[in-house]
């Protein structure tokens, strides 16, 4: 860098302050729950369950929030990709059932990764078609988007019924992923640990992409002002489609993890989890990946703690979290600046 530019970094600058407050909510919440739960090992189990669930919801929701933030498209059919991803595991489990029952970590993990790969491939392709056929004609009209993507969801769910049948299908966890690690009094389910690992990895990868690459720069700029990005000479439409496809693939990944978590497949599972996804992206702030991450963990932790402490309230705890967050920050935890 030249002298002039080098001077820029050395001069005394006001430090850019990251918004720590929402991030702090997570550990604060977890620690606050400890005395309420009372028992350390129970708390660890609940916290881990919450983190795992949070990661999976993050995977399912991140694509949607990015698509909305960047393209201003609301895709109520996002649940399609979750369901598809989940059912895609059947494609792999059919021929490779042996890998699931084998008592080998390598084979089991390989199986999981293969399921993920197939699911993401399938949902990426379906995502591209969905964008072209269903979404693109209704760019610009939120009302039509809501209606049309809802329609897509209905049709897709029925198609799944037609192809795979209407009854729930059980999905067995691979052998070595069953059970739990036991450390003293504390029980940590193996699959949940894997889920947390995968979730963190994906989050880190997304942050790297968004903050260190030119494409990430384009996405962040596009979320704020797509028109200006075009005026700078970038064909942002192509980027849009890629982001939509990536979002669908992420949902597919989330679907696979969710399928193994629930160990059952139902055609409506994508739709069922959509309410949670919507709550999470509202809480996080539409368009913010970081917000989605924090929001998912918060909502999942609350659901687990409340499920233990006051089971009757568990199902409405999400709404309460959403209401509280919106009262504090009406645009969500990390609102994204928009033109």
């Amino acid at each position: 860098m030249s002298d002039a530019a080098a001077e820029a970094t050395s001069a005394a600058l006001p430090r850019a302050r990251t918004d720590w407050l929402p991030l702090a909510l997570v550990p604060v919440l977890a620690l606050a729950a400890l005395p309420l739960v009372g028992d350390l090992s129970a708390w660890v189990t609940l916290t881990l369950a919450g983190l795992a669930m949070g990661m999976m919801i993050f995977l399912m929701a991140s694509g949607l929030t990015l698509v909305f933030g960047l393209m201003d498209i609301i895709n109520f059919g996002h649940g399609v990709f979750i369901s598809l991803g989940a059912y895609a595991t059947l494609i792999v489990l059919g021929p490779l059932a042996g890998w699931a029952s084998a008592d080998s970590v390598t084979l089991n993990l390989a199986l999981l990764l293969l399921c993920i790969a197939v699911a993401m491939g399938l949902t990426a392709v379906v995502g591209a078609v969905f964008e072209r056929v269903i979404v693109r004609p209704v760019y610009g009209s939120h009302l039509k988007q809501i209606l049309v993507t809802m329609g897509g969801l209905i049709v897709a769910e029925q198609a799944i019924h037609a192809i795979w049948g209407a009854s729930p299908i059980p999905i067995p966890l691979p052998e070595t992923l069953r059970g739990a690690f036991v450390v003293g009094d504390v029980v940590m389910e193996r699959y949940r640990v894997v889920a947390v690992g995968i979730g963190l990895f994906v989050f880190a990868a997304m942050q790297l992409l968004l903050n260190r690459t030119r494409i990430g720069l384009l996405i962040r700029a596009g979320v704020e002002n797509p028109e200006m990005v075009e005026a700078l000479g970038y064909r942002i439409r192509r980027l849009f489609v890629s982001v939509f496809v990536a979002g669908s693939a992420l949902a597919g990944l989330g679907g696979v993890m969710w399928a193994f978590y629930r160990q059952t497949l139902t055609a409506g599972m994508g739709m069922d989890v959509m309410v949670l996804v919507f709550i999470v992206i509202i809480v996080g702030g539409l368009g913010s990946v970081g917000g989605c991450f924090v929001g998912s963990i918060l909502v999942a932790l609350v659901a687990n703690y409340v499920g233990f402490l006051a089971p009757k309230l568990a199902l409405v705890s999400n709404i309460l979290v959403m209401a509280l967050v919106l009262i504090w920050r009406p645009q969500g935890l990390f609102p994204v600046a928009r033109r």
Partner: protein, 373 residues
């Protein structure tokens, strides 16, 4: 060339020669010969249903059509005229149903109970609709839709959990007031060959209430208030800049829409003599409403009549056709599953998507060829 804020008041010419029909329809006629004929046909069949189609199943279908006409029309007020996408509509439908059910179950089968139940339900709906309106209509439209989705699912959960009050998953069964029971015979002699009993009276109660509330809604959307709603739907910022308090108008529209849906819920419960989460609160009903309002024609109110009729008839009778087709196609991979009667929603969903793209005005808009804004 400046456009005016409000869409042109419909058919000022007809104001001069305002006959009884125009007054009844609030100067908002079907405006298409085919449409008028179809609507007349539907209305005639509904009014004469007990005599034209004897039997409990056809009568049940007719009653369901009436209830859904009202429910979908109330949703059209919100979606088609005010431009709000809410997924919480079934909540108000459910409140109406539960209001009647709880009142009749607790306080005995009398007209007083019906009145208490209905009034309580209307009050609760009005309160909730106002709360949702005032709190959520300030946020972006997307937020609002998602929030209503969350609220509706919470309502469904609450209803199944508060089993002491609502009967939980099983719902509530109850007795109707004496005049509405099948054993009641107001006329000693059969009329047109049909024995008139309390069931038929119940049916005509539903038809009458539906007609009155529908015409009221028609009056409301054609009033100055209704026109401001449409202006807000077209261009919210402009309306706000011209001094109309958008949130206030939307909230009032929400409340009116919720009240009509509540009445529909009450009627449904009265007919079924039962109310449960699956008959009123389920999300699939919400989807059905969306299908009906879009296929019928958003922003027309008449679309509700067409959409509800088409949908309920298809639900009851198309499935039979599909069943036959499915058997005929047995042996071919995948096709029999696609036309299986359980998959009728698949085809309706496709029709729905096509309607949004190709027929934004729905059937009514297509018949009219110049869809109302």
């Amino acid at each position: 060339m400046r456009s005016t804020l409000l869409p042109p008041a419909g058919h000022d010419e007809t104001r001069q020669r305002r006959g009884p029909v125009a007054w009844l329809l609030s100067s908002d006629p079907p405006r298409s010969w085919i449409l008028s004929l179809v609507l007349l046909g539907i209305v005639a069949c509904l009014v004469a249903a007990p005599f034209l189609f004897p039997g409990s199943q056809p009568l049940g279908t007719a009653a369901k059509i009436c209830v859904f006409i009202l429910l979908v029309a109330s949703y059209d007020l919100l979606l088609g005229y005010t431009g709000i996408v809410s997924f919480a509509h079934t909540m108000f439908f459910g409140i109406g149903g539960y209001g009647i059910a709880i009142a009749l179950e607790r306080f005995g089968p009398s007209w007083e109970s019906v009145a208490i139940g209905m009034v309580a339900a209307l009050a609760l709906s009005a309160l909730l609709a106002a709360a949702i309106g005032l709190l959520s209509l300030r946020v972006r439209a997307i937020f609002f839709s998602m929030i209503t989705l969350a609220v509706a699912s919470a309502a469904a959960v609450l209803a199944s959990q508060m089993s002491s009050v609502t009967g939980g998953e099983d719902g509530l069964s109850f007795q109707l007031p004496a005049e509405l029971r099948p054993a009641f015979r107001p006329l000693a002699e059969p009329l047109f060959g049909i024995t008139v009993n309390g069931r038929i009276l119940a049916y005509y109660l539903i038809v009458a209430v539906t007609a009155v509330v529908f015409l009221l809604l028609l009056r409301i959307v054609n009033s100055p208030f209704g026109r401001v709603l449409q202006a807000i739907r077209e261009n919210e910022f402009r309306a706000e800049a011209l001094g109309y308090r958008v949130v206030a108008y939307r909230t009032v529209a929400s409340v009116i829409s919720a009240l009509a849906a509540t009445i529909a819920g009450g009627l449904m419960a009265l007919w079924l003599r039962y109310n449960g989460p699956d008959t009123t609160l389920s999300f699939s009903i919400m989807i059905d409403i969306l299908l009906m309002v879009v296929i019928g024609g958003m922003g027309t109110l008449y679309g509700a009549i067409l959409g509800a009729t088409l949908f309920v008839l298809a639900q009851s009778y198309l499935q039979v056709l599909m069943g036959a087709a499915s058997e005929a196609l047995a042996g071919i991979p995948l096709l029999p599953e696609l036309v299986h009667p359980d998959r009728w929603l698949l085809w309706l969903g496709i029709l729905f998507i096509l309607s949004v793209y190709a027929f934004p005005g729905g059937i009514v808009g297509h018949l009219r060829k110049d869809p109302r804004p």
